[in-house]
C-alpha cells in the first residue's frame, strides 16, 4: 500500500491543522517559507528602493513608501508560495504513482478565515492609504495654488511640449525649481496620452479638448524623465523627453537663456 492511499482525518478542523503542521514536509515548508519571507523583507525594505527612480518630490516619496511597505507585507505570501514550490521540486515523486487529491481546503474553516481576513486587510490598508495620500495632496495643492509654478503640458504624437505662462517660454524639456509647488495643466493635441514625469511621482491622462491638472512638490534637485504612459501609436516608445528639478538660480538662468532666444527653447 502506498503512503498516499489512506489517510484518516482527525474529527475537527483544528485537529486537522495541528496534524497537518506536525508533518515533516509541512514543517520543512514552513521553515523554508520563513527563510524566503525574511529574504523578501530584506530585499523589499533595503534593496528594492535602490532600483526605484530618484525621489524628487513628496509625491514620489509617498509612492516609494507604499511600494516598499506593500512589498514587505506581501513577503510572507511570496515566501510561502516559493517554499511550497521548492519543497515540491525537491521531493518530487519521479516514476511514482501520483498521490490522491489532498484535503479540500474549502472545508478548512481556519484557513479560509485567515485567507479572507488577510486579503481584506490588504485591501483596506491600500484604500485607506490611497485616500489619505490623495486628500493630503489635494489639500496641499489648494493651499499652494497662489504660489505654484504653472506649466501647460501638451502631448502630441509623439512629442511633449511645455509652455510656462508666467515666464512666457515654450520648451521641449521640463525644468522646474526646487521647493516651489508646480501645477501641470495637461492636454493632448490628438489621441489620449498620459503625462508621466517619472521622478516627480505623478501621472495624469492627457486628453484632447479636456485639460487635466496635477500638482507636484519638488523637494530635491535631479534629472527628470518624462514619458508617455498611454499606448498612443507608432512612436509611443519614443514619446519621451528629459528635464530637471533645479535650484531656483539655475531655473532662472535656464528661463533667461530661453527668453533670450525669442521664448522658444533651442
Amino acid at each position: 500500500m502506498s503512503d498516499h492511499d489512506q489517510e484518516i482525518l482527525p474529527p475537527t478542523p483544528g485537529a486537522r491543522v495541528g496534524k497537518f503542521i506536525a508533518r515533516k514536509d509541512v514543517t520543512q515548508t514552513l521553515l523554508l517559507g520563513l527563510f524566503f519571507t525574511a529574504v523578501f523583507v530584506v530585499l523589499g525594505r533595503w534593496v528594492y528602493p535602490h532600483w526605484m527612480p530618484q525621489v524628487l518630490t513628496k509625491q514620489m516619496q509617498s509612492n516609494e513608501d507604499i511600494m516598499i511597505w506593500f512589498t514587505v507585507i506581501s513577503a510572507p505570501i511570496a515566501g510561502i508560495v516559493l517554499a511550497i514550490a521548492m519543497e515540491s521540486f525537491l521531493k518530487m515523486h519521479r516514476g511514482d504513482t501520483p498521490p490522491e487529491e489532498g484535503i479540500a481546503i474549502r472545508t478548512n474553516t481556519p484557513v479560509v478565515i485567515i485567507w479572507t481576513a488577510t486579503s481584506l486587510l490588504f485591501c483596506i490598508v491600500a484604500i485607506a492609504w490611497g485616500i489619505v495620500a490623495l486628500n493630503t495632496d489635494s489639500a496641499a495643492a489648494t493651499r499652494d495654488a497662489t504660489k505654484s509654478l504653472i506649466v501647460d503640458v501638451t502631448g502630441s504624437q509623439w512629442a511633449w511640449s511645455f509652455y510656462y505662462p508666467e515666464q512666457k517660454i515654450h520648451t521641449h524639456t521640463l525644468n522646474i525649481p526646487v521647493n516651489r509647488p508646480v501645477t501641470f495643466n495637461v492636454i493632448s493635441d490628438d489621441v489620449n496620452h498620459s503625462f508621466w514625469p517619472v521622478q516627480l511621482g505623478v501621472k495624469v491622462d492627457a486628453n484632447r479638448l479636456v485639460t487635466t491638472t496635477i500638482e507636484a512638490d519638488p523637494s530635491a534637485t535631479g534629472p527628470i524623465d518624462v514619458k508617455c504612459a498611454e499606448l498612443c501609436g507608432l512612436y509611443h516608445a519614443y514619446m519621451e523627453t528629459s528635464g530637471a528639478v533645479q535650484t531656483p538660480a539655475d531655473f532662472t538662468s535656464w528661463v533667461t537663456s530661453i527668453q533670450a532666444t525669442g521664448g522658444v527653447q533651442q
Partner: protein
C-alpha cells in the same frame, strides 16, 4: 492499491533531457530568427556627404556634411518605395519623404539638410511645431529667406527629430516646419500626378553629438481622418517617419 511503475533508466532519462533541451533551443532560435527577419528595416539609407569643414557659432571647427531629400504628395514621386512607375509601397495616396527616410550621419559633425517640399498642407494640431527648434542658430532658410518658424496655418509637413532621453546616448531634438504649396501651385499636379510643383527649398543645419539611434516623424496631421490626422500613413515607418543613425 497503487500500481508501481518501473523508473526509466538513467541513460533514457539523459537522452530525453538532451532532446528536450535541443528542441527548446531550436524553438527559441526559430522565434528569434523570425522576429529578426520581420523587424529588419527594408528602407535604404542615405549616408551624409562630407563637403569640408565649418566653424560653428561655438567657435569650434566641425566636419561639414550634407544630406538632401524631398517631401512628396505621393509615394510614387518620392521613389522611397522603388523606382518603377508603380512603386507605391501599397499605398498610392499616402504622402512620403523620399527617396530616403533613413539617414546615417557622422557623430560630432555639422549637418546641413536640404528638403524640397512638393505637397500641399493646412494647419498644425500643435502650433509649437511651427517653431524652428534645435538648429545651429534657431533658424531655417525657406527659399533663401531665414526664418525662426512658420505660421501654424502655413505648414505642409514637419521634420521632427528626437530620441530617448533615458538612454546613454546624447539627446537630440530638431524641429523644422516645412511650407505648404498653395492650391495654385498644386493645380497642375492635381490634374496630372506626374507634374509636380516647383516646390519650396528648406535648408537647416544642426550639430550631432555622440553616436546613437534616433527617430524622426512629421508633426503635421497628414494621415487619414482617424486619430486627429495621425492615422494611416502616420502609423507606418517609411513614409512620414524614419530613423536617423549617428555613427
Amino acid at each position: 492499491m497503487s500500481v508501481e511503475t518501473a523508473a526509466p533508466s538513467k541513460s533514457k532519462t539523459a537522452v530525453g533531457a538532451l532532446i528536450a533541451i535541443v528542441l527548446g533551443l531550436a524553438v527559441v532560435a526559430g522565434v528569434g530568427l523570425t522576429l529578426h527577419t520581420v523587424s529588419a528595416d527594408p528602407q535604404p539609407k542615405l549616408y551624409a556627404t562630407k563637403v569640408g569643414t565649418i566653424v560653428a557659432a561655438d567657435g569650434k571647427t566641425y566636419n561639414h556634411y550634407t544630406i538632401a531629400d524631398g517631401v512628396y504628395p505621393d509615394p510614387i514621386n518620392s521613389k522611397a518605395h522603388g523606382t518603377t512607375a508603380t512603386s507605391d509601397g501599397g499605398h498610392p495616396s499616402w504622402p512620403s519623404y523620399g527617396p530616403y527616410t533613413d539617414f546615417v550621419l557622422p557623430a560630432n559633425s555639422y549637418i546641413t539638410v536640404t528638403l524640397t517640399v512638393y505637397d500641399s498642407g493646412n494647419q498644425l494640431n500643435s502650433p509649437y511645431f511651427g517653431n524652428v527648434v534645435g538648429t545651429v542658430d534657431g533658424t531655417a532658410t525657406y527659399d533663401g529667406t531665414s526664418k525662426t518658424g512658420l505660421a501654424p496655418t502655413e505648414v505642409e509637413h514637419t521634420f521632427t527629430l528626437h530620441s530617448l532621453p533615458t538612454s546613454t546616448q546624447d539627446p537630440l531634438f530638431v524641429n523644422v516646419p516645412l511650407p505648404l504649396n498653395t492650391d495654385a501651385e498644386m493645380k497642375a499636379y492635381n490634374n496630372d500626378p506626374t507634374k509636380l510643383p516647383v516646390g519650396h527649398k528648406v535648408t537647416f543645419s544642426f550639430l550631432t553629438k555622440g553616436a546613437g539611434h534616433y527617430v524622426w516623424n512629421c508633426e503635421y496631421p497628414c494621415g487619414d481622418s482617424t486619430y486627429q490626422g495621425f492615422g494611416a500613413v502616420m502609423g507606418q515607418l517609411g513614409y512620414m517617419s524614419g530613423k536617423v543613425t549617428v555613427v
